[in-house]
Amino acid sequence: MGKQPRAWIVDFDSDAVIDFEDVKSRGDRRAVFNVVQKLKDLGPDLPSPHMKSLKGEADLFELRPKQGACEARPIYARFGGRFMVLAVAAKKKDFDRAVAVASDRLSATVDRR
């Protein structure tokens, strides 16, 4: 732990920034900023229930604002010492689509490298 940086770099894919605009409630937006800040502070050490690996998506993870009590879900991946939020599900019903979109954006991002 001592060798880990005190803060990690977290970026949002520009399309995930647009997804995030669908999170309308101030409380939910605050909760998303709060949990992304936790990812910035803890990086890969961020424990459950603040994050979760996505089943069937080896490289994708979900952030769980308010430890799951808020429906919004940023979907992210790690690239070395950085993290990228690839999609944001505003509501529970948007989750599966957000995961699919994040997976596509991850492939596109890797292809561009």
Binding site: V10, D13, R30, D41, D45, Q67, G80, R82, T109
Partner: protein, 130 residues
């Protein structure tokens, strides 16, 4: 490993934009800086020792829902709560509040680097040894 070509926005820039667009969010974000640092301290400790929230609750002598609340970073901890955590976990936690016009003089440069949050009128440093 870094996707240089991807079109992206840094989280800090997004956060700054939100604070500019919503002054009440900005005030709340600044007010809860100690809560976020205390939450991050507990999370780092839990990760380092591979503890569940229930394990940490036992170590702190509190209920698991209490740990959920402390890890939320949405409630500034009382001084007694900080002292209890320091006593039971063997960590160090510092909270320094100074006028924004003056550089904090009572905390180390390391603490300032890791946990300084500039408010509009005060500077808050919240940092821990974890």
């Amino acid at each position: 490993m870094i996707p240089m070509a991807a079109s992206r926005k840094n989280f800090d820039a997004l956060l700054a934009e939100e604070q500019l667009a919503d002054p009440s969010f900005r005030a709340e974000w600044q007010r809860l800086a100690p809560a976020r640092e205390f939450a991050a301290t507990l999370l780092r400790y839990r990760a380092e020792h591979k503890l569940s929230q229930r394990d940490l609750a036992k170590k702190l002598g509190v209920s698991q829902p209490r740990v959920v609340k402390l890890e939320s970073g949405e409630h500034n901890p009382e001084v007694d709560t900080i002292i209890n955590a320091v006593r039971r976990l063997g960590i160090e936690f510092v909270l320094d509040v100074a006028p924004a016009s003056r550089k904090p003089a009572l905390v180390t440069a390391r603490a300032q680097k890791s946990g300084a949050i500039a408010h509009d009128d005060v500077s808050v440093v919240a940092a821990s040894s974890v």
